[in-house]
């Protein structure tokens, strides 16, 4: 705790994070990507406010209608408003993207940091486990789980997270192995800090840069994975929708009602682009080599 009377005289330093933030703001593509993501997320969250229709509200008389003033992006074969369904679908898609990535992040960072810091036999054991899971054919794994436990949103998170953490663990491990050689870690040992505190206070904060970048690149790949699983009919169940399941439906009626494929596809691509631009921007901003100029 800093006492008040002193604080005003201190010069405020700029941390590496603040430096990175300043660099990121100068990257126009990354800023646009970030804004776009925020807008998309807000739209999806505020779906009931933005749209007058419910996502399962059918108008069988109308059927599949072209985009119009009443239904901006048209309706599907049951007369459900496509714009509304895309927004509600975005909730699921974004949630899967975030939560599954978070799961991957927590497991991967902890696993990788422990393996990298411990080294030797523990490291070998932990990383061979990662290799084994890597070697499992992912789709069979997913199909099996879905068949055994039934289709379940929670299971979807776990399955996707349980696959994506592997790469995260490898990244963190190699980061930690490099950092471990630095003298400030030795200094922390010679101060008598416990292993857990060294990992928590000294290793992870310094390894986190590439992890954040990889995270922004994982979210799109997770969303794609969910879309793929839903496309196969193993993911989201109707009347709920995700971008993946909307695209899957759109493909069936591609020739008669192309907008049912085009708009969900466009939305997914737009979010993926935004995330990728943001990720690239973060990578450049957090790169230590660029921070020295």
């Amino acid at each position: 705790m800093m006492s008040r009377e002193f604080t005003q005289y201190y010069e405020q330093g700029t941390s590496l994070w603040q430096d990175a933030w300043i660099r990121l703001r100068k990257n126009r593509l990354a800023v646009i990507g970030g804004m776009l993501l925020i807008i998309i997320t807000l739209l999806c969250l505020l779906a009931p406010v933005v749209s007058p229709y419910g996502y399962e509200q059918q108008d069988l008389v109308l059927g599949a209608a072209k985009p119009s003033l009443h239904h901006w992006l048209g309706t599907d074969v049951f007369g459900r408003d496509l714009f509304t369904r895309i927004l509600y679908g975005g909730r699921i898609s974004l949630m899967v993207g975030m939560i599954a990535t978070l799961v991957a992040l927590i497991i991967g960072v902890t696993w990788g940091a422990i393996a990298g810091y411990a080294g030797g036999r523990i490291d070998a054991l932990m990383m061979r486990f990662v290799d084994i899971v890597y070697a499992l054919p992912f789709m069979i794994f997913v199909v099996l789980l879905m068949v055994v436990f039934g289709r379940n949103l929670l299971l979807l998170f776990i399955v996707i997270g349980g696959v994506e953490w592997l790469t995260m663990a490898r990244i963190v491990r190699s980061q930690v192995q490099g950092l471990k050689q630095l003298e400030f870690i030795e200094a922390a040992v010679s101060l008598g800090l416990s292993n857990w505190n060294i990992i928590r206070r000294h290793l992870i904060p310094n390894a986190i840069g590439p992890v954040i970048v990889y995270t922004t690149l994982t979210i799109p790949s997770v969303m794609l994975l969910e879309a793929f699983i839903s496309f196969l009919g193993l993911g989201i169940q109707p009347p709920q929708s995700s971008w993946g399941s909307l695209i899957a439906d759109g493909v069936d009626t591609m020739e008669e009602f192309p907008w049912l494929l085009i708009f969900p596809g466009l939305m997914l691509s737009l979010s993926l682009f935004a995330l990728n631009f943001l990720g690239d921007g973060l990578r450049d901003a957090l790169d230590v080599r660029t921070s020295k100029d």
């Binding site: 705790m1 800093m2 006492s3 002193f6 005289y9 201190y10 010069e11 405020q12 330093g13 700029t14 941390s15 590496l16 994070w17 630095l182 003298e183 400030f184 030795e186 200094a187 922390a188 040992v189 010679s190 101060l191 008598g192 800090l193 416990s194 292993n195 206070r201 000294h202 904060p205 310094n206 921070s291 100029d293």
Partner: protein
């Protein structure tokens, strides 16, 4: 007529933070067979100056603002890239600090030499090979007929620098630019490389530009010296007049910063022993082509350290001095032997059992850029040991951190700043502050000043001396630099191949070294021009 004549050279860097003038109005000239030493601290523009001549500066951000550089009637600054390429490596050759960066690690030395030899001298492969062997022999590589087929990593640092010099000689250049070629080398090896460059200069009538931060090296090799600071010329003249009669304040300051003389050693006969080391051995397991092997880094070492004493540990790289230091703190657990610290056996304690001793034994590291956590402010860095060992309450931490900062000479206003906002010297002060935060009785300083500029080096040494006296610290001071050790230490141990070969009081060792190796070290260190000041 001079071989190279540089007039009013100015170079600036245009970055997004503004324009930095790296070199300002520098002029010098160089005759064949002469050596010009350019000396200055980091950021003085000494390297930029020479890189600009060869068109080796990245542009942008670098821009040559004005000046001319006449090299046998060609203005280098007006040459196109293709004209420069003909001159570089042909008439002007360069050697660098780290030879590994300019050697291809995947090619045998021979292949790397033969190809340019064939190209430059228009000779057959067989002749080129014979010539390469002759060149390697000339630069002092033993058994060149065999070693020519080795890969770069099979050579030691000094040998690699010799290979680099041999490669620089391939095109029979008229000018050799050497950028800190001996900085990464041990003192005895440095001496040999300097002698080699001198010998080649005489034999081939080479002009040499020798860039260095080390006045001792410059004193040995240069005829003319150019002293630079922040891009400006400070002083220029013959090496003799500069060292015996410097006119500028900065030059005087540089010369004064070279540690010389020794400290007065108080009588220690009544002091008690703090640290008693016996038969200490540290081995590393090696796996070489499936074979289990052992490397003995510290071999049966014994010594004792009194309270309040500064003990120097001197040796070249690979002698095991850093491993010894880390073994004493159990950072690298010793394989056998005994370390008794204030009556307690340290060897064999695990990390939990070590914790109470960690407070009492601390370490200062060599590289101030690697020894501080870049994500932590000074406050966090200095408060961590205090809180960890329960030496400060939540309320008093800040006051204690501020006091520590006063102790090591850091302005209080910097408490919220991060390491990357400081210079190397300031960072080292933070690292020293962290080491003395827990009020230890014993501190190991592992080459704490070797990464710093000379003037900063002097300040840090004085700070250490001050802290030793004020807190009655015992210190093991590890260094490769005998002058620094003499300035700071009461006694000196010399280490070679993991063994302590000689231990003596500083002045005794200086005046009458016993062991051959100590004598060799001493003779490599002292430059007469500097010692006779």
């Amino acid at each position: 007529m001079p071989l190279l004549e540089v007039n009013h050279l100015s170079v600036s860097f245009h970055t997004r933070h503004g324009v930095v003038k790296a070199v300002n109005n520098i002029s010098f000239s160089l005759e064949p067979g002469q050596t010009l030493g350019i000396v200055g601290e980091s950021g003085s523009g000494k390297s930029v100056c020479c890189y600009a001549l060869l068109g080796l500066l990245p542009s942008p951000p670098a821009r040559i603002d004005s000046g001319s550089a006449l090299f046998s009637d060609t203005n280098l600054l007006n040459c196109s890239e293709s004209e420069l390429r003909l001159i570089r490596g042909n008439k002007i050759a360069m050697i660098f600090q780290d030879p590994m960066t300019s050697l291809n690690p995947f090619m045998r030395i021979g292949e790397q030499m033969i190809e340019p030899l064939m190209y430059h001298r228009k000779i057959s492969h067989r002749d080129a090979r014979a010539h390469a062997i002759a060149l390697l022999e000339e630069v002092g590589i033993r058994n060149p007929t065999y070693t020519i087929d080795s890969y770069p990593h099979e050579f030691s640092g000094g040998m690699r620098q010799r290979v680099m010099i041999a490669m620089a000689l391939i095109a029979e250049p008229q000018l050799l630019i050497a950028d800190e070629p001996t900085t990464a080398l041990d003192v005895t090896v440095q001496r040999q490389i300097l002698e080699l460059i001198n010998e080649l200069r005489r034999k081939h009538n080479l002009a040499v530009i020798f860039i260095s931060h080390d006045l001792g090296v410059i004193a040995d090799i240069a005829d003319q010296v150019l002293v630079m600071k922040a891009g400006y010329k400070v002083e220029q003249g013959s090496v003799h007049s500069l060292f015996t009669n410097p006119s500028d304040g900065y030059t005087k300051q540089l010369l004064a910063a070279i540690p010389r003389g020794s400290k007065s050693v108080p009588d220690r006969s009544t002091d008690s022993t703090l640290l008693q080391v016996q038969n200490l051995t540290t081995r590393f397991k090696l796996y070489d082509r499936g074979q289990r092997n052992e490397f003995i880094a510290v071999d049966n070492v014994g010594f004792s350290l009194y309270r309040g004493e500064v003990l120097g540990l001197v040796g070249e790289s690979g002698s095991g001095k850093s491993t010894l230091g880390r073994s004493l703190l159990n950072l690298i657990p010793p394989s056998s032997g005994s370390i008794v610290f204030d009556g307690d056996q340290i060897v064999g304690k695990n990390s939990n059992q070590m914790k109470p001793w960690r407070r009492r034994m601390q370490m200062i590291f060599q590289d101030p850029y690697a020894s501080l956590n870049p994500r932590m402010t000074i406050y966090d860095t200095l408060a961590e040991p205090l809180i960890l060992h329960g030496l400060a309450s939540k309320q008093s931490v800040e006051m204690q951190v501020l006091k520590l900062m006063d102790d090591v000479g850091l302005a209080r206003a910097y408490i919220r700043k991060y390491p990357h906002e400081f210079s190397g010297g300031q960072r080292q002060r933070i690292a020293i502050g962290r080491a003395i935060a827990t009020k230890p009785e014993f501190v190991i300083a592992d080459e704490p000043v070797s990464a710093l500029d000379v003037t900063i080096q002097k300040q840090i040494l004085e700070l250490l001396l001050f802290l030793v006296e004020r807190h009655n610290l015992s210190m093991l001071f590890i260094s490769h630099d005998l002058a620094v050790v003499r300035f700071l230490c009461d006694r000196i141990m010399v280490m070679q191949h993991g063994r302590i070969v000689e231990t003596a009081a500083t002045e005794t060792m200086w005046s009458s070294p016993h062991h051959d190796y100590t004598r060799k070290l001493l003779s490599s260190t002292a430059s007469p021009l500097i010692l006779n000041q």
